[in-house]
Symmetry: C2
């Protein structure tokens, strides 16, 4: 699995048969960093997508939502440095023009490319720069290009997020590669987050869509950096079908494929949390013993979104009072006297009362990973969400004039 590659620190092999990619600098970012990426499939790929739930949707999201409905696409062109959001009709025209530029340069069918943009909101997209960068993309594009493509998607990201997994599914070896960006505005559902998966699996778009939705729900929709949902969130999967037998919905093969995709999506989503703007800690909130799934999720999310809890996590303070107060206001069914809380294995509250283990818990919190477990004693359902702490650096990054 990809995590082994990551742990070993090696630059791992992101290649997926039949997919080429490139990332270049076309001058949208003032610092000269890469800001234009293209990923294409040698043959038209099946496609599925999940998009922001924000009422304010950026132009590229509106375009992709339309094009994804066709069920196939050639690939995607992505720029960073400008979100092409809140840009009106001109923005929509620019997204269409951006796709057309890639289609023309790479000899692809008209209307077959998808588009993504990330960066500042409300500023017209510098389409001329994208046009001028395209010849370099066309020259550099290759089967090992995902590494440079993901770099060209970064905004406030401190590191590129990428993973790859292989599994024997139905006798053949399926490869799935995933790349993502996103550091701030991370909240269900999705936030300023782009993630693209490429696979050689042979799976039709309705099944592909179901697999993607299941994976996103347990990964990108379960992470919270701040509580803001962006206008540009997009998760796409392209499946070019070069790997033989069809994976049909409802089969064991489909379950195996969904599991593989989910594990990669969880991995990428955790990378996004670890790279949360200004984050110094990775925090898992698990709420068990809830009456319903919805209650478990609501309680976990409210803790993960609480500024008081997040500053306490930053300070390494086992302040369970803030945690129980957040759960109390979450709307989840709970009784104080049945609620227990542990942090990194130390039970700080039992039956709603302090256990006197504050010092022990504070020692156990001297680590970059915090695991908060809450038991509500109201039922059998549970949920996990992942978040980061709220730090000086978060305030610095986001209060700097026009980040």
């Amino acid at each position: 699995m990809a995590s082994d590659f990551l742990r070993s620190g090696k630059i791992f092999d992101l290649r997926v048969p039949g997919f080429r990619a490139a990332g270049v600098s076309c001058g949208i970012k003032k610092n000269g960093r890469k800001d234009l990426a293209v990923i294409v499939s040698d043959s038209p790929a099946r496609v599925a997508g999940v998009f922001t739930t924000n009422s304010v949707k950026a132009a590229p999201v509106l375009l992709d939502m339309k094009r994804v409905r066709k069920g196939t696409a050639s690939g995607i062109i992505v720029n960073s440095g400008n979100a092409n959001a809140c840009t009106g009709r001109e923005g929509l025209k620019n997204s269409e023009a951006m796709a057309a530029i890639a289609e023309k340069a790479l000899g692809l069918r008209k209307g077959s490319m998808l588009v993504a943009s990330t960066g500042v909101i409300g500023v017209p997209l510098p389409i001329k720069k994208i046009e001028s960068g395209m010849p370099t993309v066309a020259k550099m594009i290759g089967y090992d290009g995902l590494h440079s493509a993901v770099e060209a998607m970064m905004t406030t990201d401190a590191f590129p997020k990428k993973t790859v997994g292989k599994a024997k599914i139905g006798g053949s070896g399926v490869t799935v590669a995933g790349i993502a960006k996103g550091a701030g505005m991370i909240c269900p559902n999705m936030a300023t987050m782009l993630a693209f998966f490429m696979t050689d699996a042979n799976i039709k778009s309705p099944a592909l869509s179901r697999a993607l939705k299941a994976a996103v729900d347990r990964s990108f929709n379960s992470i919270i950096v701040d509580n803001d949902t962006s206008t540009n969130d997009t998760v796409l999967i392209f499946a070019n079908g070069s790997d033989g037998n069809e994976i049909k919905d409802g089969t064991r093969e489909f379950a195996a494929f969904t599991d593989l995709l989910t594990s990669l999506a969880v991995e990428l989503s955790h990378m996004i949390v670890r790279d949360g703007e200004g984050a110094t800690r990775f925090v898992e909130i698990e709420v068990a013993g809830a009456a319903t799934d919805e209650d478990a999720r609501l309680a976990a999310r409210t803790v993960a979104e609480s500024m008081l809890c997040k500053t306490a996590f930053f300070g390494g303070d086992p302040n369970w009072g803030r945690i129980i107060a957040a759960i109390g206001r979450s709307g989840a069914k709970m009784k104080e006297e049945r609620t227990s809380i542990s942090i990194n294995g130390v039970k700080v509250a039992s039956g709603g009362l302090d256990t006197g283990k504050e010092k022990e818990a504070a020692r156990a919190m001297k680590t970059r990973e915090l695991y908060v477990k809450v038991s509500l004693g109201a039922g059998k359902r549970s949920s996990r969400v992942w978040t980061s702490d709220l730090t000086y650096e978060y305030v610095k990054i986001n209060s700097a004039y026009r980040t």
Copy 2:
């Protein structure tokens, strides 16, 4: 009105006929500051209250909710430094004991005193200290005691919050004094916030309760510092009826009384926002042109709760993209192309598009007060909420080990 007194910087007259008060230090706060307050009415007062909506309710809240139902009370005993929340049955016994200590020392009817506590959660209330402080309270209590009482309620508050208003209602001069505490955990509905009003008006408790609810809705329930609602929020009003004619529900006199109470509650609530933990700016968010009251409130609240908007306010960044993105995810009915946004009178977005006035807006934001006006163009309803910015200092205060 009180604001005139405040502006003049004078220590103003907080006295309300028939009410005595005191604030002393009994040793709960380690720094020796005042931490025990008592307010009593010479004759049993009509009482009404509004309490936290958090499922986790502190012991004093549970006790008060029961006692307020009787419709009359002698007054209240308040401690700071310990919230007596998440303290189980012992906590409830301690709240009862605390009331009894005041009743005994001041010769009041058993069960007639209310109780409030604010401070750290999950630590047993040091009832012995309260008992030991009571003789000093009994000695010092007097008609000019509200100034010291409000000081004894402070936790992370930078300044005491107090106001007074008088109005001719039905021929006689009614006085209402209000005192409050609260700096962090400020969010509808109410947050770690205590506010007590004392009046000589002659008004029965059902009418008093209606007036209080109306006032709280437009004041304490429309402010947001962080998004956390505390376990201890309590707003109470005591009316001792020493001012002659009864103010009956539904009359012009009732409307005048409610207006007076609302204006004082708004004033206190703005003081709480200005004293928000780490706040450098006071921010009013007004959403107009909404389809419903609920939409207007939802949109305004979502902006006021957005960490990205609040850090932009701190940085003086007219980043309207974050504002429109917050409104887009709020759930309020809106169309991007109909939305306009102005900050301190400078229109930064019109019809969902940038107006090119960023620099002008940034200049206009170089002030401690920000007025954000959003028009949704979806209807005729509007709502205002007040909040503060998210600053380094907020993170510092709340990440410090056990604040």
